[in-house]
Subunit: 217 residues, 2 copies
């Protein structure tokens, strides 16, 4: 049975992994007869957002501990996982992917990527294993593999697309129910909640992305 | 379009709403052409569980604020919602439903139910509008409508079934992919993660429960 590594970034759209995107990814993996393993970096969240008010809350939360909520407790520290043990990698969206896995949400085209996230992406790339990135998460692979000319989508947001192209990557506009496939670099991306207006269309785009990642593995 | 009220109890299986059950409920509602509105009580969680270690963490979190993570910010205080504005009610499981909506997880058959949760269940019951309860959440309706002889399932756990029957309610064993329907009281229940071994079977049971709740409305 193929096993897909998921990198989570917390639990909740505004400071962690987008919950529906993550759940739909896991569901699509099981629907395709594969399994998944969750991991997350053992670092503190960039901040905690009150999801009711949108305001920053006092206090600090661990990305690994909060991600464990989304994994029903079964999660590994990202620092200890390696591409050799998995068939593919998928990173769901949510602001956490742009705040905790890299700092794109704060630094834009000057962003840096968490060193272990970068290491894993490079390991999967070198092993020619496929990778999927949802919603805003494609900025991470665009930064890491930009100089190789990787092609991704985040939907049609011009500012983000311009930042992606500043890394050397290519951006292709895409609708929420579609995917962009870079067959050379084995990278699959879909806009998800960058464009999604309801669960059904987000679910369809993610199901296509997961199926393609599994096809390529 | 029919609108279903969902009562959430936090965000995470051990101290809040079970994330996959809640997401699958919302997805099934949209798949059936209906919409949902989330609410949660504006009270503090019974406690905060570290989902990585299973241990109680220091600090306090709001049920409403944490539930907002599961609702992408769109959530109402349960205290301000009324059955007259909705076609049906569904309460997903997770320990939060047995810790924050009632105290069954701590008090067993001596439990009490949050007064606004009880008020809402009575309002839906009196209006002859259907209700669905997933996983451990059926203990809530068993407590509130037990003296009327409501029939529910939580799967096949004997201790919980005995507590349910101590309220005057009936318990019927049920598999994870099936549902129990009390047509007299318009109450639909399914075991979900009380028995679920994977997402696929939990998803199927919940899809059947949501479809039946919509049929009855």
């Amino acid at each position: 049975m193929k096993n897909i590594l998921l990198i989570l970034s917390g639990c909740g759209v505004y400071d962690g992994s987008e919950i529906y995107e993550s759940t739909f990814t896991m569901l699509a993996i099981e629907e395709n007869g594969a399994s998944f393993t969750c991991c997350a970096p053992d670092v503190q969240q960039a901040h905690v957002i009150n999801h009711l008010t949108g305001e920053t809350e006092p206090g600090s939360r661990s990305v690994l501990t909060e991600s464990a909520r989304l994994a029903r407790g079964k999660i590994a520290p990202l620092e200890k996982v390696h591409a050799k043990d998995f068939d593919a990698l998928i990173i769901p969206g949510g602001f956490g992917s742009a705040k905790n896995l890299c700092n794109f949400a704060f630094a834009g085209n000057q962003c840096t990527v968490n060193s272990d996230v970068e290491r894993l992406i490079c390991e999967f790339h070198q092993a020619k294993k496929p990778m999927g990135f949802l919603c805003i998460a494609p900025v991470i692979v665009a930064k890491v593999l930009g100089k190789k000319g990787v092609c991704v989508t985040i939907g049609n947001d011009k500012t983000t697309a311009t930042a992606i192209e500043s890394f050397g990557a290519k951006h292709q506009d895409c609708t929420v129910e579609s995917i962009v496939v870079d067959t050379t670099h084995r990278v699959v991306t879909t806009p998800a909640y960058m464009l999604g207006k309801n669960m059904l269309e987000v679910r369809r785009g993610i199901a296509k992305a997961v199926e393609k990642v599994l096809d390529l593995s």
